[in-house]
């Protein structure tokens, strides 16, 4: 009975967004569309929450386990808050005439389609299905990034499209290789692509094939996760697309991609004679961290700035998972959660800021804490949170990563610390210019405090996590951390 409820929840998670997407595609009135969008997201959020109480098992296509359950809830939570945020945001875009109602219809439909794709990717138990879902998510986001139809929006969309499809192609090759490795052991057919069964048999797979597969998967899904040197699409896509999409991209899609990589990392760990994926991931992570740290300094576009911050933090997570061990893995998982909450909150703030200032150029935004206290301090809080300052939750994960790393691999901790400090310094430099000093340029009235609720909620969640983590979450993290080795 219980698990039936669970299956119901899972089907809802997939059916509601899909249905909503179709419905919204046919719905001309954008206000209603925005409401419907938020409503659908809310329903799927509730559905995902029921998974807390009901543990549906797994079949060859879908499954819910400790690893993806909280990601699913997080996914639907953020997509819900973002839809609420976008309702206010998009209305303003209409007033300024950057978008037309026709665009909005498309936008809302695509939004739900994206939610569907990400839910599917998280729920998938079948590596092929996982791949299909992520490809779908890519296509949808490409279309949304280009929605403004400006020259540079198309430019960004195109860049994203080409690099994204290449990544997908590589990921597919990796998936095929995994199947080829599994097929002699587990015979033909679907079971040989079901993740949980792969995991049980992974020890018998041919290590060489697994190695090859992992490299393709790492590069393929790593492109989606924005790891340097595969990151090139990420900053432009964040900067040129609508801000809600930037929030979803940074907060959720990157997580999904990293989630896929981790699934395969588990397979690698399960096979003793395969090469250890840790050093590879740690190296890529450090590279991304340092690179982003240097790139902050020169950024002139506020959204691109925070896009690079996403690269930095994906780097930190990848590094943590690469280090492995209970502490670092726990830290990585915690960091995933905290980062998606914080970063989306930051993008909410940034969206409003670019609206009230009428620009995204950092050099023309000053003294926000004086002119728009809510937005200004919200941004300051968000940046401090993302920079790993207490009392916010990111501090805990960075604490665990750095200290455990130094205890085990001092020479790896050194570049890590340098990168963290560098990123903090350069990001803070930008923040000072934005939040403090004499205000100048256009100052449209800020949004109503109500519309800042999503941002507030995220920040409060992160704040609470800094002080106290709920027991079940910790339990999940620890069991997954054990699986991740």
């Amino acid at each position: 009975m219980n698990s039936d409820l669970g299956w119901m929840a899972m089907t809802t998670l997939l059916a509601i967004p899909a249905g909503a997407a179709l419905l919204l595609a046919g719905l001309p009135r954008y206000r209603l569309g925005a409401r419907l969008n938020a409503g659908a997201a809310l329903i799927s959020l509730l559905a995902s929450m029921t998974l807390f109480w009901t543990q549906p098992g797994a079949n060859v296509y879908l499954r819910v386990d400790d690893f993806n359950i909280y990601l699913i809830v997080l996914n639907n939570l953020v997509s819900f808050t973002t839809s609420a945020f976008s309702a206010g945001y998009i209305a303003h875009e209409l007033e300024t005439g950057r978008l037309t109602p026709k665009h909005l219809r498309f936008y809302h439909a695509m939004y739900q389609a994206l939610v569907f794709a990400m839910n599917l990717a998280l729920l998938a138990n079948n590596i092929g299905l996982l791949w299909v879902a992520i490809e779908l998510a890519t296509l949808v986001t490409v279309l949304m990034v280009g929605i403004y139809r400006t020259r540079e929006a198309l430019e960004a969309a195109w860049k994203y499209f080409i690099l994204g499809s290449l990544g997908i192609a590589l990921a597919l090759f990796g998936t095929i290789l995994v199947y080829l490795a599994a097929q002699p052991v587990m015979g033909q057919g679907l079971p040989a692509m079901a993740w949980d069964q792969l995991l049980t048999h992974a020890h018998a797979f041919d290590p060489a094939l697994l190695n090859l597969a992992f490299i393709f998967l790492l590069l393929g899904y790593g492109t989606k996760a924005g790891l340097v040197p595969l990151h090139a699409w990420l900053p432009d896509a964040h900067a040129e697309g609508p801000t809600p999409i930037s929030a979803v991209l940074s907060g959720l899609l990157l997580n999904v991609a990293l989630y896929a990589v981790l699934r395969f990392k588990m397979l690698m760990n399960a096979n003793p004679s395969a090469l250890a994926p840790g050093p590879l991931m740690a190296g890529l992570g450090l590279l991304s961290l340092l690179f982003a740290g240097f790139m902050f300094y020169r950024r002139g576009d506020i959204k691109r700035l925070f896009a690079y911050s996403s690269i930095e933090h994906m780097g930190i997570m990848t590094f943590a998972f690469g280090m492995g061990g209970p502490l670092a893995n726990f830290a990585g998982l915690l960091h995933m959660t905290m980062h998606s909450l914080t970063k989306s909150a930051i993008f909410f703030a940034v969206g409003y800021i670019s609206q009230v200032k009428g620009t995204q150029r950092i050099s023309t935004i000053h003294g926000l804490t004086a002119t728009h206290p809510l937005l200004g301090w919200g941004l300051v809080a968000g940046v401090m949170a993302i920079a790993g300052m207490p009392p916010f939750g990111v501090f805990m994960s960075e604490f665990l990563v750095v200290s455990s790393t130094f205890a085990r691999e001092p020479w790896l901790a050194l570049p890590l610390v340098i990168g963290l400090l560098l990123g903090f310094g350069t990001l803070l430099w930008r923040l000072h210019g934005i939040a403090f000093g004499e205000s100048q340029g256009a100052n449209m009235p800020g949004p109503a405090p109500v519309t800042a609720l999503p941002m507030m909620m995220h920040l409060i969640l992160v704040l609470a996590a800094g002080f106290w983590l709920p027991g079940p979450l910790v339990a999940w993290f620890q069991s997954v951390a054990a699986l991740l080795g």
């Binding site: 195109w158 860049k159 690099l163 595969l230 090139a232 690179f291 750095v402 000093g437």
Partner: protein
């Protein structure tokens, strides 16, 4: 069970910070916030005092917060009790001062929410008993003080100060993070109780020591990590400057003591002491020399904080050196000196910063070159400031002298040390200490003389008014404490001894109350003794004797007339000595070496009406050699890397391609 109460009081402080966010627009809010802070600080102070004075056993408490599997550990022992006294004394007086001073705050909304939070964080740092809680509170402290520094964010200088401050704080935190990672080991035994038990190899222990030095030194202002301090402390409102300079740096010292003396346990190598000693000596002299070159009053005080931190670290270095040779009696003396100076500096530095705050509200000026003659309009502030200045210049019978005297006595015990390097280092440190003391006296003759004496150099200074009574109460309570600690040092030393014993394997100084006339006898009365009470008594007696007899038997009449000045009466106030000209001889003697001080005089030819120009140019050696190249390198690299933002898609594709081929080659050649 005091610990829950302490914690809940800190929580209340945080809570009223939140309340201030909502209420800061109301005028009454400032009074409320500072009043509550005052009350809470006084309660905390009382509890810490009782715990220290009746040498209670440590109490611990664990809350289900922070790291899930660890929880938040808290502990109150003699050391933390002593530092709690320092912190909450400073906090209470600052709040009292702010009851008056806070009324002049232009942007209360940017001060009131963070002020109580700042106090709470400092208390939490002292109570924390596991690495996570410690660093959490530590960094939160940096964050709230950063917000206070940014209170007046419209001045670009303040913004720069805040930026530099937070980056350096982050550096320090990361260093401490590494240190704790080392101490806790790979499987993360983060609570201090576990850390105390682990045995470390000498190499790792040394690494931890150096990391702790970087981490706490960057917050305390140890040269060469001091660059942020003289910028950030003055930028904040004056009562906050008092807290940052007088109290927060002490929290940093606490962190060092806790990690090195308590967690690391016995110092394994003698050179630890040497390292800390040398750093302390250099810091002391450089700090005071920097201070002498300043004419911004608050910045001068901030640099003096650097100097005093150096003195404290000299004491700590000596203690380490003694401990590494199992000379615990001597180590006890050095530790007592260091802790005593911690208390003293928190007293007079807060006093001086608040006096400066009073001057600032009265005149709106921080630049000494535009002040002067303030002793006439504001005599009480002048008196309090004078006492503080005399105390920080280590003049008997005030408290500053006692702790430096104790430090000297500790240095006099160093010949027993077996290591040669220490034998050479100790007297050199003594010379540096003496030099810094003498220069400090010069510096505060300048600070007080130029600011309060002479004739006003600007209309603002001429129109000054005496400050309000809250501020005066705060100033004089501190001044009284300076005097008391100076004439009754024995009692303070006895109060410190539990903390010293905790850090020193139980060895303490002999109890001082039993001595006749409350004399201070650190080692043995044949060696050395000092009695502030009698010195004060004798001075008072002889001074009064002289005054009375002269006024009784000789003339006591007074005539007023213009100053004689070798026959140039009534020269304009511009003819007075300024801060710059007062420092000129010392600048000639020391500055030309340390700061490459250059003086440019452009004198117009006779008959030319134009004013002569005089310019002094100083260079900061630390910044020039350390920080400037670093920032230049970062900018250069980021410029180079920035081209990666502008590649073509084809080039991006080739990046991916290259990565793929590289990895394939990797696994092809893996075996």
């Amino acid at each position: 069970m005091p610990l829950p109460l302490l914690l809940s009081l800190s929580m209340i402080l945080l809570a009223i910070g939140l309340y201030a966010i909502l209420a800061s627009r109301r005028a009454s809010c400032s009074r409320q916030i500072y009043g509550i802070s005052l009350v809470i600080c006084v309660i905390l102070l009382g509890m810490a005092l009782t715990h220290l004075l009746n040498a209670a056993a440590p109490v611990t408490l664990t809350l289900p917060l922070g790291l899930p599997w660890l929880g938040a550990h808290f502990r109150l022992d003699a050391l933390s009790a002593f530092f709690l006294i320092v912190v909450n004394l400073g906090g209470a007086v600052a709040s009292l001062f702010a009851l008056g001073y806070g009324q002049h705050e232009p942007a209360p909304g940017r001060v009131l929410p963070f002020y109580p939070a700042f106090l709470a964080d400092m208390n939490l740092v002292l109570l924390a008993d596991d690495a996570f809680t410690f660093l959490f509170a530590w960094e939160f402290m940096s964050l709230s003080s950063w917000a206070l520094v940014m209170a007046h964010h419209r001045e670009p200088a303040n913004a720069r100060a805040g930026y530099l401050y937070l980056v350096m704080a982050c550096l320090g935190t990361l260093a401490l993070l590494l240190a704790f990672g080392l101490l806790a080991g790979a499987n993360g035994g983060y609570d201090f109780a576990t850390i105390r038990t682990v045995e470390m190899t000498p190499g790792l222990a040394a690494l931890a020591l150096i990391l702790a030095l970087i981490g706490t030194g960057s917050k305390a202002g140890l040269v060469p990590l001091h660059v942020w301090l003289p910028l950030a402390h003055p930028a904040a409102p004056s009562h906050v400057s008092a807290l940052m300079s007088g109290v927060m740096t002490k929290v940093a010292v606490y962190g060092f003591i806790r990690i090195v003396f308590d967690l690391l346990g016995e110092p394994v190598a003698w050179w630890w002491g040497g390292l800390v000693l040398a750093l302390g000596g250099i810091t002391a002299v450089l700090g005071v020399l920097y201070a002498l070159m300043q004419h911004d009053l608050k910045r001068l005080l901030a640099y003096h904080t650097v100097e005093n931190i150096g003195i404290i670290f000299i004491g700590l270095g000596l203690a380490l050196a003694f401990q590494s040779n199992q000379m615990y009696a001597s180590a006890a003396l050095a530790l007592t000196a260091a802790l005593f100076h911690v208390l003293n500096h928190s007293l007079f530095k807060s006093l001086l910063f608040m006096g400066t705050g009073a001057v600032l509200t009265a005149t709106g000026e921080r630049d000494m070159e535009r002040l002067g003659g303030l002793i006439h309009p504001m005599p009480w502030t002048a008196l309090a400031f004078l006492i503080g200045a005399a105390a920080i210049s280590a003049l008997p019978p005030l408290n500053g002298f006692v702790s430096e005297w104790l430090t000297f006595q500790a240095i006099l015990l160093t010949p027993e040390l077996p290591q040669w390097l220490l034998k050479f280092l100790a007297p050199a440190a003594g010379a540096l200490l003496a030099l810094s003391a003498a220069l400090a006296a010069a510096c505060f003759v300048k600070a007080f003389g130029i600011t309060f004496l002479g004739r006003p150099r600007s209309p603002a200074a001429a129109k000054a008014q005496e400050t309000d009574r809250y501020s005066l109460a705060a100033l004089f309570s501190l001044a009284a404490l300076c005097l008391l600690a100076g004439i009754l040092p024995g009692l303070v030393v006895d109060g410190l001894s539990p903390a010293v014993g905790l850090l020193n394997g139980g060895a303490q100084l002999p109890a001082q109350q039993s001595q006749p006339w409350l004399t201070l006898v650190p080692v043995a009365d044949v060696k050395s003794s000092y009695n502030g009470l009698l010195v004060l008594l004798f001075m008072a007696l002889s001074g009064i004797f002289a005054a009375v007899s002269i006024h009784r038997f000789a003339s006591n009449s007074v005539r007023r007339s213009p100053a004689w000045d070798c026959g140039f009466p009534n020269a304009s106030p511009a003819a007075q000595y300024t801060a710059g000209s007062f420092a000129q001889p010392i600048r000639r003697v020391f500055g030309s070496v340390v700061f490459q001080a250059r003086e440019h005089v452009t004198m117009p030819p006779p008959g030319d009406g134009r004013a002569a120009q005089f310019a002094v140019q100083l260079r900061d050696p630390v910044w020039d050699c350390g920080y400037a190249p670093l920032t230049a390198a970062i900018i250069k690299i980021s410029t180079k890397l920035n081209y990666l933002q502008y590649l073509t898609i084809r080039q991006y594709l080739s990046l991916v391609f290259g990565a793929l081929v590289l990895l394939l080659l990797g696994i092809a050649l893996w075996r």
